[in-house]
C-alpha cells in the first residue's frame, strides 16, 4: 500500500491506562482511502482502546497517528473529529433527550455555519432513511435499539467524513438489522470513505473487510486480506475462547 | 516504632504549648485568640471527621452548634439547670438531631446530603428565632455563666478559666476522634469513604457505620456549641453566628488544614486565625483572606497544610537518610 493513498496511518502506537501495562502495544496499521479495515480479537484485546488512542480519548504514550498526511497524535478528540473523522463509540451514543433531527444536526457541528450544506445533508439523510424523516420530531431515546443505530450511522455520515471508526455496530441488534448495518457500512466505503470496523461478528467482518488485523493482548498477532482471514476463521476464533 | 514515638512527643509538645502559653502570658487578648483557635480547630476537626473520613458533607454544622448552645442555655434560663450539666444536655440534643439527619440522608449521596443538612439547620435556626416567647428570638438569649467549681470562678470575667474548660473539652474530643479513626471502626470508615460498594461486598454494614459517625460527631458539636454559648454570653440565631456563614468558616479551616487529617485542622485554625490577628488593622479583610486561602489551597495544595507538612517531612527524611 502506498502512503499517498493512505487515509490513516498508525505507527508503533502505544497507550495504556497505567504506565506498566499497555492496552495498545506497538500497533502499526494503515487504512487506504475507500477501504474497510477490520479489527478482530477477544474481549479485552485492545480493539476499542486502539480507536480511543487514535482519536485522543486515550493519550498515546508513544508512536504516531497520521490522518490525511497530518499528524494528529494525542490531539483532543473534538479536534480530530472535526477534521473529518467520524467515530461510533461502543454502546449507544445518541443524545436521548434531543430529537432525531437535533441529533442529525449535531453531526454537522463542524459545518454548522453553512446553512445550505446543513440543509442538503439533512435532506440526504432523510431520503436515505425515511424512518428518520417520519420520527424526526421524536426524542432519540424513544427509538428502538435498531432505529438508534440507524440514526447513529446517518449522523456519522452527515458532515461528509473521510474516515469512520466504528466500534461494535451490531452489538445488541436483531439479525436482520445486523445485515442492514453492514450493508450501510459497505455503502460508506463505496463512496470513498475509509472505515475501521470492530465487531464481534468475526465472519461478517472478514466478509466485508478488505484487510483484517487480529489483535491479542494489545498487539497485532495476525493480519491479512479478508479472504485470507475467512479461510482460517475457525482457528482464529478458537484462539479467542 | 520510632515514628509513633515522634508522634507522641509532638502531641505532648503541642499540648504543653496550648496549655502553657495563655497561662504564662496571662493576657486577656491572647487568651481570646487561643479560645477562638481551639473552637475553630475542634469544629473543623469534627467537620473533617465526617467529610474526610466518611465523605459526609455536613453543611448544617452551624445549626447543629446552635441546637447545642440553645439547649444548654434554655435549660439554665427556664429550669435553672446547671450549665455544667448543660454541656452534656446540649450534646445529647444535637446527637438526636444528628441521628435524625443521618437516618433521613441514608439513601442520598454527595451534594444531596449537604443540601439536606443545610436546610435542616436552616429549619432549626428559623424555629429558634420564631419561638420568641421561649427563646427570645432575635432579641437574644442571655446565657448564665458556668457556676464556680472547686472555688474557681468560671464566669466570663475569668477568660483563662474558661479557656481551660475548652482545652479539656478539646483534648477529650480530639483523643476520642483520634482513637476512633485509628481503630478498627476508623479503618472501616476509610474503606467506606473510598468505595462504598467495595466495603459492602466485604460484608460491612455501611448504614450502621455512617450513623455511628454522624452521631459521634453531632454529640461533640453539641457540646462545643453549648460551651460556645457560655463563652459569648448571648445567643442570637443569625446566619453569621450559626448559619451558612459559620459553616463556611469551619469548612474553610478544615480544607486549609487538610482533609482526612484531624491535626491538620489545628494548623488550619492557627494559620487563619493567626493571620487574621496579625492583620487585625484591616479586620474586614479577615473573611476575604479566608476565601482567598480556600481557593488557593484548592488550586495549589489539594491536601492542605497537613499534606504540605507531610511532604516536607518526607523530603527531610530523604535528605537525611543518605548520610546515615
Amino acid at each position: 500500500m502506498k502512503m499517498a493513498q493512505s487515509c490513516l496511518v498508525v505507527e508503533d502506537l502505544c497507550a495504556g491506562y497505567e504506565q506498566e501495562v499497555l492496552v495498545v502495544d506497538n500497533v502499526s496499521l494503515s487504512v487506504a482511502k475507500g477501504s474497510i479495515v477490520g479489527l478482530v480479537g477477544a474481549n479485552g484485546a485492545g480493539k476499542s482502546s486502539l480507536l480511543k488512542a487514535v482519536l485522543g480519548y486515550l493519550k498515546p504514550s508513544s508512536g504516531t497517528v497520521t490522518f490525511q498526511g497530518k499528524d494528529i497524535t494525542g490531539h483532543r478528540p473534538d479536534l480530530s473529529c472535526s477534521l473529518g473523522i467520524g467515530y461510533l463509540m461502543e454502546g449507544h451514543s445518541v443524545f436521548p433527550s434531543l430529537t432525531v433531527e437535533e441529533n442529525l444536526l449535531l453531526g454537522m457541528w463542524p459545518k454548522r455555519r453553512q446553512a445550505s450544506v446543513v440543509k442538503a445533508a439533512l435532506e440526504r439523510a432523510y431520503t436515505r432513511a425515511p424512518l428518520l424523516m417520519e420520527r424526526r420530531k421524536s426524542l432519540a431515546g424513544l427509538l428502538s435499539g435498531g432505529q438508534q443505530r440507524i440514526l447513529e450511522l446517518e449522523r456519522l455520515y452527515m458532515a461528509g467524513p473521510s474516515l469512520l471508526l466504528i466500534d461494535e455496530p451490531s452489538l445488541g441488534l436483531a439479525p436482520n438489522l445486523v445485515q442492514q448495518t453492514f450493508d450501510r457500512i459497505q455503502e460508506f466505503s463505496k463512496e470513498g470513505i475509509a472505515v475501521v470496523l470492530i465487531d464481534q461478528n468475526v465472519r461478517k467482518v472478514a466478509e466485508v473487510a478488505d484487510y483484517v488485523y487480529v489483535l491479542q493482548l494489545g498487539r497485532i498477532r495476525k493480519e491479512g486480506t479478508g479472504q485470507l482471514i475467512s479461510m482460517d476463521i475457525e482457528n482464529i476464533v478458537k484462539a479467542f475462547i | 516504632m520510632l515514628a509513633s514515638r515522634w508522634k507522641y512527643a509532638g502531641f505532648s509538645l503541642v499540648l504543653l504549648f496550648l496549655a502553657a502559653v495563655p497561662a504564662v502570658a496571662n493576657n486577656n487578648y491572647l487568651t481570646a485568640v487561643f479560645v477562638s483557635v481551639l473552637l475553630f480547630f475542634i469544629l473543623a476537626a469534627l467537620f473533617d471527621f465526617m467529610l474526610g473520613y466518611l465523605n459526609i458533607f455536613n453543611f448544617g454544622i452551624g445549626g447543629f452548634m446552635a441546637l447545642g448552645a440553645y439547649t444548654s442555655a434554655l435549660l439554665a434560663y427556664h429550669y435553672g439547670i446547671s450549665p455544667w450539666f448543660g454541656l452534656l444536655a446540649g450534646g445529647c440534643a444535637t446527637l438526636l438531631l444528628g441521628l435524625f439527619a443521618g437516618i433521613i440522608t441514608l439513601r442520598l449521596r454527595g451534594i444531596y446530603v449537604g443540601l439536606t443538612t443545610l436546610f435542616l439547620a436552616e429549619f432549626v435556626l428559623f424555629a429558634l428565632s420564631n419561638l420568641r416567647e421561649y427563646t427570645r428570638g432575635a432579641a437574644g438569649l442571655q446565657v448564665s455563666s458556668l457556676p464556680d467549681l472547686f472555688g474557681i470562678s468560671f464566669s466570663r470575667s475569668n477568660p483563662l478559666a474558661l479557656y481551660y474548660v475548652l482545652f479539656v473539652i478539646c483534648v477529650v474530643i480530639y483523643v476520642t476522634l483520634h482513637c476512633v479513626v485509628n481503630s478498627r471502626i476508623g479503618l472501616v470508615f476509610k474503606a467506606i469513604r473510598d468505595d462504598q460498594l467495595g466495603a459492602s461486598v466485604l460484608g460491612f454494614n455501611v448504614v450502621r457505620y455512617k450513623l455511628l459517625n454522624f452521631t459521634i460527631a453531632s454529640f461533640f458539636i453539641g457540646v462545643v456549641g453549648a460551651f460556645y454559648g457560655n463563652y459569648i454570653g448571648i445567643l442570637v440565631p443569625t446566619p453569621q453566628e450559626f448559619g451558612v456563614a459559620r459553616t463556611t468558616e469551619i469548612l474553610t479551616i478544615a480544607y486549609v488544614g487538610g482533609r482526612g487529617t484531624l491535626w491538620g485542622s489545628l494548623l488550619g485554625a492557627f494559620a487563619l486565625i493567626g493571620l487574621q490577628e496579625v492583620f487585625s488593622v484591616v479586620d474586614q479583610w479577615r473573611l476575604v483572606l479566608y476565601g482567598a486561602f480556600l481557593v488557593f489551597v484548592l488550586m495549589v495544595f489539594p491536601r492542605g497544610l497537613a499534606g504540605g507538612c507531610k511532604q516536607l517531612a518526607a523530603w527531610i527524611t530523604r535528605q537525611v537518610q543518605p548520610r546515615r
Partner: protein, 301 residues
C-alpha cells in the same frame, strides 16, 4: 390564623397577584443556578454573590451614570457573563483538568471560596449601606380591588421573555443543542467535534449572565447590599431543589409555587413561621423526591 380572609375575593386575588409577583422573581433567580447544575453538575454557591455584583453594576450604571434601565440591566448581564467566563476558565477548568471525574466536590468548595471573597470585598469596598432605587417604572392599576403595579407587570413580562428566549436558544440554535448534548453524553459530544471545555465555560457564563440580568432587574426590590446574596442563594436553592436540580423550566414553576405559598402563609398565618415550614418542605423534598416535584424520579441502579 386568619382564614376568614379567604372569603373575600379581592383579598385572595391580591394574595395570588403578590404570590405570582414574588414567585416569578424567585423563579428567575433559580434559573441560572439550575442551568449550571443541569449542564455541569456544579452547584454554584457564589450564585448569590453574582446577584449582588449585578445589583451594584446596575446601581452605578443606571443611577450614577444615568443610563436607561434596560441598558443597565444589559450591562449587569454582560458584566456577569465576562466574570463567570473568567472564573470558569481561570479556576474551574484547571480543577477539572487535574481531578478528572472527581472534580465536583472541590468545584463547589471553590465556589464557596469565591462567595466568601466577593461578599466581604463588597463589604470593604462598598460598606454596609444599601444602594437602591424605589421603582423601575412608576404607576399602578387596580382591577376590581386587586392592585397591580406596573413594575410587577414589567417583571412578569421580562420573565416570560427570558424563559422564551432561553427555550428558543436551547432548542433552535446549534450552540444550544451542543450544550444539551454535552450535558447528556460528553464523550459522544466530543465525537461530534464539540469542544466540551468551551461548552462548559459558555454554560457557566450564561448562567452567570442570567443571574446578572435578574440582579439588575430586581434592584428596586433587592437593593445593592454586600450580603444580599445569601438570601438570594437560599431562595434559589429552594426553587431549584423543589423543581428538581438542574431543571431550568421547573425552577420557574417551583418559584411561582414558593411565591404563592409565602404570600398566603404571610396573609393568613402570623409572619415568621413560613420560613421554617418552607425549610421543612425542602428537607422532605430532598428526602422523598430528590429529583424534585416536577421531574421523573432518578432511577437508581
Amino acid at each position: 390564623m386568619h382564614f376568614e380572609l379567604l372569603a373575600h375575593p379581592a383579598i385572595v386575588g391580591q394574595f395570588i397577584i403578590d404570590g405570582l409577583g414574588r414567585g416569578v422573581m424567585y423563579g428567575l433567580m433559580g434559573m441560572g443556578l439550575a442551568l449550571i447544575f443541569g449542564i455541569m453538575g456544579l452547584i454554584n454557591f457564589a450564585h448569590g454573590s453574582f446577584f449582588m455584583i449585578a445589583t451594584y453594576i446596575m446601581y452605578f450604571v443606571a443611577v450614577h451614570l444615568g443610563v436607561p434601565f434596560p441598558i443597565g440591566i444589559m450591562f449587569a448581564a454582560l458584566g456577569l457573563f465576562l466574570f463567570g467566563a473568567a472564573f470558569e476558565r481561570g479556576l474551574i477548568t484547571p480543577l477539572r483538568a487535574r481531578l478528572g471525574r472527581n472534580w465536583l466536590v472541590d468545584g463547589y468548595v471553590m465556589t464557596i471560596g469565591l462567595q466568601i471573597v466577593l461578599e466581604n470585598l463588597a463589604l470593604i469596598v462598598m460598606g454596609p449601606r444599601e444602594h437602591g432605587i424605589s421603582r423601575l417604572i412608576q404607576g399602578r392599576m387596580s382591577v376590581s380591588g386587586v392592585i397591580l403595579t406596573n413594575e410587577r407587570i414589567l417583571i412578569f413580562s421580562v420573565a416570560i421573555m427570558v424563559v422564551a428566549t432561553l427555550a428558543a436558544f436551547m432548542r433552535l440554535t446549534s450552540l444550544g443543542r451542543a450544550i444539551r448534548a454535552t450535558s447528556e453524553h460528553p464523550d459522544a459530544a466530543m465525537a461530534m467535534g464539540i469542544d466540551v471545555r468551551r461548552i462548559y465555560t459558555i454554560t457557566f457564563a450564561l448562567g452567570s449572565a442570567l443571574i446578572g440580568g435578574v440582579g439588575g432587574l430586581l434592584l428596586s426590590t433587592y437593593p445593592a447590599f454586600p450580603t444580599i446574596g445569601s438570601d438570594v442563594l437560599i431562595k434559589s436553592f429552594i426553587v431549584v431543589i423543589v423543581g428538581g436540580l438542574g431543571n431550568v423550566w421547573a425552577a420557574m414553576i417551583a418559584g411561582i409555587l414558593l411565591g404563592l405559598v409565602e404570600s398566603f402563609a404571610q396573609g393568613i398565618a402570623s409572619a415568621g413561621w413560613q420560613n421554617s415550614i418552607i425549610a421543612a418542605i425542602v428537607v422532605m423534598v430532598l428526602v422523598f423526591r430528590p429529583s424534585g416535584l416536577f421531574s421523573k424520579p432518578i432511577s437508581r441502579p
